[in-house]
Symmetry: D2
Subunit: 144 residues, 4 copies
């Protein structure tokens, strides 16, 4: 089974490009975060809605593979899908494209936490349901 | 009367440089903030001490004049002095040098606020006294 | 005489916000640069077109006045107009709004240079003409 | 066999911290780059020396594992060692510590390229020899 990834367009800013003329590597990780923000908006109204319900996210792991460089003023598409939804962790798969060309791909793993304490908490149903259209594997059962 | 400015060394990071090979302009404004942080540390132990006493700063105005470019791996000196200490506002003068060469100069005006409410508050004496060694003009009297 | 400013929408990114929950001040200067990039696109096809004709820009001065804070996920409008077009320098006026609320206003002065040498050069006619719809004061005559 | 990692101290800047009060995740990747720059300086005089000899680096892969948050004004140590030196690729292992506490660990893989063409090129001996004190595994033989 496959799902269509969520997509969001951005344009590369001059300030993000380095003396090689390409986007500096750490900005791609910031681009992944933008994709998450926009996926959250599509799924259940946005980060603000999530935080208003007392929930926040912290990032636990990131992987990036750099295939080709984005350059100033390029129009990119940030793609993201949820590849695994555990009991408290959400794994997302990211691809950054310029047209059909794949520039960067990677993975993030976030942990769902209480906004106030930053303690781990089970993923609420409204997050699971909201993200379902872009989720590849929904775990059948969750730890009690 | 003159005072010696406070000085703090930094080295230009690759990620701060743009396709022209020079530090992108907005980073100089971030450099001014680093100079403030280090001046605060020298004056009374740092931002953390200030915030621990319920006080914070918000920036109200900034001016920058760009004379020459800093480049990757350059060693710079961030200079700052307090040019005016009002009742609630602190004006600082900034210079960024590479050796004797002046690259950027500018001014910031910050307003002292309550940490919780962000409402303006009179500058506490321990801030005035701590900054005195780097202050050019201390207002003789303050509005009631 | 007045002209309508050029406008471009952006959304505040989480990575641009600081522990006060507001956009860190230096990012507003980077926002001004985005407004320039988009104005250039509207005027004559973009920075790439300009650089392809051997012309580049360097920033000489910046002024910012901070009135209110932009926050994560805010939708902002970046407004820019050309307030003065000299022989080699372009002055732009910037306003950052959230709806009708003015958050930040400021001014940039750029100098037009040869891409290869970074030496000052007279502003080409195609830049003057392209920017005309957003230019408040076009100098009647230019130094020989 | 083990080697002592190369270490470099930095202090967290306010502009690098997000509304959670912690360093935003993408900045840790930029911190890894600072560690590389300083290791290069210790090994053979710096990036400038390398580029002056017609060699540059491009990043191919990055992995990060986030264990705890760095906060504003924290003093961190950036640790790096070379875990694998192939024919054209250099793998480095990174750890970011606050005192004895491990905050972030990760891996970068860079490819050595010709500065002008960005084409892959065998790692020069002066890079291998310069990095030897911090290199865990030096490949015994290299492709002809």
């Amino acid at each position: 089974m496959t799902v269509e990834p969520f997509g969001h367009p951005i344009r590369v800013r001059y300030a993000e490009c380095d003396p090689q003329g390409a986007v500096f590597n750490s900005h791609y990780l910031a681009y992944f975060d933008i994709a998450m923000t926009e996926l959250w908006r599509a799924a259940f109204g946005g980060y603000g809605v999530m935080m208003g319900r007392g929930i926040d996210l912290v990032v636990a792991e990131a992987q990036l593979r750099f295939r080709a460089s984005a350059r100033f003023d390029d129009e990119l598409t940030l793609e993201v899908s949820v590849t695994r939804m555990g009991s408290t962790a959400i794994t997302t798969d990211h691809r950054i494209r310029r047209g059909n060309e794949l520039l960067v791909e990677g993975t993030l793993r976030h942990v769902v936490v209480m906004l106030e304490t930053l303690a781990k908490t089970p993923i609420p149903d409204w997050i699971r349901e909201g993200l379902a259209p872009w989720t590849l594997v929904q775990e059948a059962e969750q730890p009690a």
